[in-house]
């Protein structure tokens, strides 16, 4: 019997990462450099969390006997970084069709929900959280209305365990406002303009239909349901944010004026040209989820550093914004590079505190989860991590993460393979066992 148990344990050791149990005792982190986000960066105050919540920040916090104390002198504590848009959990190997679940067929999918397809055992998840990204806004893609997005915690046994909040937003791809002039596009200019106008009309019709649907008496025996329109009702009533993907200045302006006319609360995702529309965005108080600082300028004649400095321009103009990776599925495995998008913005003008805020608290505020996460504040979730240096610097590494106070398994596929093949060269005498 004993032998069998040992055997099982040895499997466990070489196994996949195991979701952490609920926080069982209070934890006190001492002597760290605290990046509170909401109240600056301070050296020294302790932070205490219990039952998944931060319960105190300060010097000389009173603790109970069962408190686990971790001295983290010289190390940094940050709230969990938030990826503001990806298909994490909805894809595994993007080139393999069977592993893609982020794009439902058809144009209007207002009824589909991201979190129900989130695969908590995706190998991409532990790799992502290894660099401090502990929360991910998971969005469906494709079509005019891809569906409803969710914010997921990057640890848990099931998608239900992992869901921090659902619904977060209805998602929409704004029609292309520019003519497509690639030689392979056989459509004439006139047809394209008609198509664009038709797309805009369709959006209006959809929302008008949803309004009409909303007024129907659902108890009437005549009533017939329509899940697509049903799903839009929360957007129309202003309860659910509408995130509109729009990159060019024409798309952004068109989307904003449309939302004002429709009286709908929106955020802009992408926002490549948002720096060209700052006055409008500020005036209408529309936030921007700025995608991919690490990209090339959109136009040949733009400044070489345009994507790098756009966050600074938004900040200076008083536009609310957060920063995220490219939402292209190709980039989903690389969400761990999120802090380097923020740090490039810093090298090109954005204040470092603002940069870290743009991947934590600003994101939480825009997505409506700042009551739980985004900063180190009493009462918020103990979703945070310890790093051995400035997280905006590539050379730093995350040592330990907590999600809702749960101590996360920091292993991942990459570390395991690294260990495995290091072992190969130790066996062969090429590397020494340190």
């Amino acid at each position: 019997m004993k032998i069998i148990i040992l055997f099982i344990i040895s499997i466990l050791i070489s196994s996949d990462q195991i979701p952490a149990p609920e926080q069982s005792q209070p934890i006190l982190l001492k002597n760290g450099i605290l990046h509170t986000i909401s109240n600056g960066t301070v050296q020294g105050p302790d932070i205490l969390f219990n039952n998944g919540k931060i319960i105190a920040i300060g010097h000389g916090i009173e603790i109970t006997k069962d408190t686990q104390i971790m001295d983290i002198s010289g190390k940094h504590i940050y709230p969990g970084l938030i990826s503001a848009g990806s298909s994490l959990g909805l894809q595994e190997v993007n080139a393999v069709r069977a592993t893609r679940d982020y794009a439902e067929t058809g144009s209007i999918n207002s009824n589909v929900r991201a979190n129900v397809s989130y695969n908590p055992d995706s190998e991409l998840i532990p790799v992502t959280r290894s660099n401090g990204i502990l929360l991910a806004h998971v969005i469906p893609k494709s079509g005019r209305i891809p569906g409803i997005s969710s914010v997921m915690m990057l640890d848990g046994w099931t998608w239900e365990d992992c869901t921090l909040k659902h619904p977060i937003a209805m998602n929409m791809n704004w029609p292309s406002m520019e003519l497509n002039l690639n030689s392979w596009n056989k459509k004439s200019h006139k047809d394209q303009i008609e198509e664009r106008d038709m797309a805009l009309d369709e959006i209006n019709n959809l929302f008008n239909s949803a309004r009409a649907y909303n007024k129907l008496d659902q108890t009437s025996p005549e009533f017939k349901s329509n899940p697509r329109l049903e799903a839009l009702s929360q957007v129309i009533s202003g309860k659910l944010l509408l995130i509109i993907k729009a990159n060019t200045v024409k798309q952004i302006e068109s989307a904003v004026y449309w939302s004002v006319k429709q009286n709908i609360k929106i955020a802009i995702l992408g926002g490549r040209d948002s720096w060209r529309a700052t006055e409008l965005l500020k005036e209408k108080n529309i936030p921007v989820i700025y995608e991919s600082v690490l990209s090339v300028p959109a136009r040949r004649f733009e400044d070489y550093d345009q994507p790098y400095k756009t966050p600074k321009l938004l900040f200076d103009a008083g536009v609310r914004f957060c920063i995220t990776n490219s939402t292209s599925p190709f980039q989903t495995p690389h969400l761990r590079d999120l802090p380097y998008h923020a740090s490039m913005a810093t090298a090109f003008g954005l204040d470092a505190e603002e940069a870290i805020k743009s991947i934590t608290l600003s994101t939480a505020e825009i997505l409506g989860i700042d009551i739980n996460v985004g900063s180190l504040e009493t009462g918020k979730d103990a979703t945070l991590f310890i790093s051995n240096g400035d997280i905006l610097d590539i050379r730093s590494n995350v040592e330990q993460a907590f999600i809702n106070g749960k101590e996360i398994d920091m292993s991942d596929r990459h570390k395991m393979l690294y260990k495995k093949y290091t072992e190969k060269y130790i066996q062969k005498g090429i590397l020494l066992n340190e």
């Binding site: 190997v93 060019t248 400044d303 495995p333 090298a347 590539i394 090429i430």
Partner: protein, 996 residues
């Protein structure tokens, strides 16, 4: 000239004419010989582009001009035509008229490739339709250079007279070539420009071989297998033997440079059918002593009135719209000869309109325009004694106009082609349009007819004219003359008599009255003349944003002081140290160097200096990436398709990159030859090449090669498995060895001066490259992911006795690092990419560090125009993942890739004697907070943030000026210029799905 001699010459020419045009068909009805001697008298004659004579006579006999001049006796048998007030020009020549070739041109003696059909002769091309003839006549065109429209070697052209016989007067003046491809995704070769150029080169080599092979066979038929006849090679060969010309159809100025490279390699007599971009690289073209056929087809106006729409146009594209009509005058100022073509113009009458426009507004001299339409093409086509001038003995090809051809009010009234007159339909309204003094109803007024209608001014009141109808001599119209107390509608008729209209009017009461009108001298303009802003802007290299007005010059001495220098060499990191550069080389690295006289001194206190960064895997600066149609394409070369105008070059310089290994894609097992370039922004494609770099070639393994992610229809090209990939590569090397042996035997005989009775081996560009690999002088850079395939290729290399240069990507390299190290290959990998396709599911960011620890020379590469802008930060990931020291990590993007590319003797580290490629960073080069401030190549500054700010200001100003200029052109338009997509036109690179 004594008259008797003239007559002898004439006699000879007439007999020539009879030879050309004699009719072998029997007469079946009555003979209908029309008079064929004409005297055109009292004409103003433009004899040639320079000389004009007034009140001259032209005698035409048969198809030719018998005499021209002022004191010509009119032969008794001549039919006289009075051309008072008319101008006569020599008939124009269209230098490029494409006709539709038949779809299938292959037969059993053709070239294997369906785009190679040089034997096709345009002499038999179909008749030009009546409608087309008329369009040519309206522009004054009387002869055309007809060219085939399909393929790479398209066939031979011909010159055709536009008379009723459509007589060809010159067969095969040129062989027509074009950069045509089957396009990406095609299964027929070539699918890209890479393959097209390789095919052009191989075909010329085949011609050379074919000739020798035939000779060898003829002298020794018993010793040899008969050679299969190849009409294509024969036709090129005979064209070359006759010193025939080649005309190359190109898209832009870079394509033209590519054509010149081919011309130079084979010593061809070469012209260019261009697309009007010559002004951009004029200096390159001046040297080439070529001839250009220019389009007069200009693109519609850009839509810039809405500033947001204007964003979709690059400055380059906007400026070209302005520059295109100026291009001919610019070429002329550089003394480059050219001719024109109607080709590309949709509405053919725009040809003359556009020509007049560039003469009137864009500085082209009339004389040059005439040369381009007459004597230049005539001379180039070998017809300088027959076409292009009005001169004795020349073909009677003439244009009769009502005035100056370059005045848009003049009409082309008729053209003569080889002695045949073709009268053109006349718009009757032109006889009447204008202002007339009206006399009638006992009043004097003004009568005006224009395209828009007409009006009668009487008593200073304008009366509109309705129902205006014109015939050759008569005009009729109606008007309501209530203002002079004549009720109802009055019906007018006027007959023209020289400058007078003699008219009558039927009034509403049935009475008739008389009126007449005398033509006024002044003209009526329908439209206000368009006044354009002045436009003067320097040419930039390359055109558009961040282009240079003057190429960067290398300063003699540069001293950078007080920096922290990351040498990537034995000296490690040196603080507070100076770097002295002389003539582009590192002269000294030491503290406190005294500035030499005339040195440029840069104070870099607090800053860091690193070697110029090197990207070992890039697809920037190239117009084509993959020749994916065959599994082995080692004959294709990236150097043939470099694009020096790619903005990625400038953007990468701004990130500290100085050298990039431009690789073929990974669509096939054995891809094309690489090009190592220095990012010398502003220079021509050839000047980007880094001459010290050994040759290389791209290989690829795995999913892309076996088309796993290309889509469901790609399941038949060999190979479809990794097993097959191995076999393709082994087979290619076996073929190369066999080929090498043939050459060894042949060369041995040459050396021994032994008799050669066998057909010599054929030079094969594909196998040449593979032989170079076997000889160890061409490095393989192999796209690879999985450990099995890495191991496999390393075993092939061992078996065939060469060492692989680098494994590229090599994301499972960490699994077989011991084997890679043992073999001696380098590893050039991504810092942290994974999971984008199945074969990279085991990729780990520790790959670089682990391979390094096992003893491999490791570099990080970009494979991306974006990542290539921040390679220093990529190297920091070697510190993060695997704990490589900072000094060693930076080597992943400096000396290590230099070693891998075989250029570490000259670049990659900052050491005395090496080339001064370096970067000045605002701080620690591995810190995300640092910025690249200056980038130097060969001791020459190619980027600085200060200079960049100036360029931004300049470009903002230029762009506004360009847009203002376009807005000042008030000419209405219904069609707009297509915006450029901004994203480069490149094919796929290496990463996702399709064979990148």
């Amino acid at each position: 000239m004594p008259k008797i001699l003239t007559n002898i010459i004439l006699l000879f020419q007439i007999s020539l004419f009879q030879f050309l045009f004699s009719n072998i068909k029997p007469i079946t009805n009555l003979q209908e010989h029309q008079p064929d001697v004409f005297a055109l008298i009292h004409a103003k004659v433009q004899l040639n582009p320079v000389d004009i004579i007034e009140d001259a006579t032209i005698i035409i006999r048969g198809s030719r001009i018998e005499a021209v001049g002022n004191d010509i006796q009119i032969p008794r048998d001549a039919f006289e035509i009075d051309l008072t007030d008319k101008t006569v020009y020599p008939g124009f020549i269209d230098s490029w008229f494409e006709y539709a070739q038949p779809d299938s041109l292959q037969n059993h003696n053709s070239h294997w490739n369906s785009k190679v059909h040089p034997e096709f002769n345009s002499g038999n091309s179909p008749e030009i339709s009546k409608k087309q003839l008329n369009e040519f006549y309206l522009n004054g065109i009387t002869a055309v250079h007809i060219v085939p429209n399909k393929g790479i070697f398209r066939g031979e052209s011909a010159v055709r007279l536009l008379n009723s016989n459509q007589q060809n007067i010159e067969n095969s003046p040129t062989q027509v070539l074009a950069f045509e491809t089957f396009g990406w995704g095609a299964d027929e070769y070539p699918g890209s420009l890479l393959g097209t150029i390789a095919l052009l080169r191989q075909t010329f080599y085949d011609v050379l071989w074919y000739k020798r092979a035939k000779t060898a066979y003829k002298s020794n038929p018993q010793q040899n297998e008969p050679i299969r006849r190849n009409l294509s090679l024969e036709s090129i060969q005979s064209h070359l033997d006759n010193n025939g010309k080649f005309i190359f159809r190109t898209g832009d100025e870079i394509a033209t440079l590519r054509a010149f490279n081919i011309a130079e390699e084979f010593g061809l007599n070469f012209w260019i059918k261009s697309n009007g971009y010559e002004y951009r690289r004029l200096n390159e073209f001046k040297k080439k002593n070529s001839f250009f056929v220019l389009p007069l087809h200009f693109q519609p106006k850009p839509k810039v009135s809405n500033p947001q729409d204007a964003l979709s146009y690059s400055t380059t594209k906007l400026k070209h719209w302005i520059m295109a009509p100026k291009n001919p005058a610019i070429l002329d100022s550089a003394k480059i000869p050219f001719s024109f073509t109607v080709d590309g113009i949709k509405k053919k009458s725009d040809f003359r309109k556009n020509l007049i426009n560039i003469v009137q507004k864009h500085g082209l001299l009339k004389q040059t325009a005439l040369k381009a339409l007459t004597i230049h093409p005539a001379k180039k086509l070998g017809l300088e004694n027959q076409l292009g001038q009005i001169s004795e003995g020349f073909l009677a090809n003439l244009i009769i106009t009502s005035g100056d051809y370059f005045d848009k009010k003049s009409k082309v009234e008729s053209v003569w082609v080889a002695g045949e007159e073709h009268k053109l339909a006349i718009d009757n309204s032109t006889h009447f349009n204008g202002a007339w003094t009206f006399i009638g109803f006992e009043k004097t007024g003004e009568l005006i007819f224009s395209k828009k209608g007409g009006s009668l001014y009487l008593d200073e009141i304008s009366i509109p004219l309705k129902n205006i109808n014109y015939s050759r001599h008569q005009i009729s119209f109606t008007a309501s003359l209530d203002t002079i107390n004549l009720n109802g509608v009055s019906q007018f008729i006027g007959n023209i008599e020289k400058n007078k209209l003699i008219g009558s009017v039927l009034l509403s009461n049935g009475n008739t009255a008389k009126w007449n009108a005398i033509r006024n001298d002044f003209e009526i303009n329908d439209r206000k003349p368009i006044k354009l802003n002045d436009f003067s802007m320097p040419i930039l290299y390359p055109e558009g944003a961040y282009g240079l007005e003057k190429l960067h010059q290398q300063p003699k001495i540069v001293l950078v002081k007080n920096a922290t220098i990351w040498t990537s060499g034995e000296k490690g990191i040196l603080e507070n140290t100076d770097l002295l550069v002389r003539n582009g080389l590192i002269h000294n690295i030491a503290p406190n160097i005294t500035p030499p006289e005339n040195a440029i001194v840069i104070n870099a206190r607090g800053k860091h200096i690193s070697p110029g960064l090197i990207d070992c895997h890039s697809h920037s600066a190239t117009s084509a990436i993959n020749e994916g149609t065959q599994s082995v394409t080692s004959e294709v070369r990236i150097r043939d398709v470099l694009d020096s105008d790619d903005i990625a070059i400038y953007r990468e310089l701004a990130g500290g990159l100085t050298i990039a290994n431009i690789l073929h894609g990974s669509a096939n097992a054995i891809g094309g030859q690489n090009a190592v370039i220095k990012l010398r922004w502003g220079q021509s494609p050839e000047s980007l090449l880094y001459k010290n770099a050994p040759q290389g070639i791209k290989f690829a393994l795995g999913e892309n090669v076996k088309q796993s992610n290309w889509g469901d229809e790609y399941t038949t090209r060999y190979p479809q498995t990794r097993m097959g990939v191995e076999q393709v590569i082994r087979n290619a090397f076996d073929r190369a060895i066999e080929y090498q042996k043939q050459w060894q035997i042949y060369n041995q005989k040459i050396i021994q001066k032994a008799q050669i009775d066998k057909i010599p081996p054929r030079r094969d560009l594909e196998l040449d490259a593979l032989v170079e690999i076997l000889k160890g002088i061409r490095k393989i850079h192999c796209h690879s992911y999985r450990q099995d395939e890495i191991l496999m290729l390393s075993r092939i290399a061992d078996d065939y006795g060469f060492t692989i240069g680098t494994f590229q990507h090599v994301l499972e390299g960490y699994k077989v690092a011991d084997r890679i190290a043992e073999h001696g290959a380098g590893a050039s990998t991504f810092s942290d990419w994974w999971a984008y396709k199945f074969e990279v599911i085991d990729a780990i960011p520790y790959n670089g560090a682990l391979m390094h620890d096992v003893g491999i020379t490791v570099s990080f590469n970009s494979d991306s125009d974006e990542l290539a802008r921040r390679m220093n930060l990529e190297s920091a990931k070697a510190v993060k993942y695997g704990g490589i020291s900072e000094e060693e990590a930076l080597k992943f993007v400096t000396i290590n890739p230099a070693i891998q590319l075989g250029i570490d003797e000259w670049v990659g580290s900052l050491e005395i004697g090496k080339e001064a490629d370096f970067v000045i960073w605002s701080g620690h080069p591995l810190s995300t907070m640092s910025k690249c401030e200056q980038t130097w190549i060969d001791g020459t500054q190619y980027f600085s943030i200060d200079e960049d700010l100036k360029l931004r200001e300049r470009d903002k100003k230029y762009r506004s000026e360009i847009i203002q200029y376009i807005l000042s052109d008030s000419k209405p338009t219904t069609e707009y210029l297509k915006p450029d997509t901004e994203h480069s036109h490149k094919e796929h690179g290496c990463l996702e799905g399709v064979g990148k």
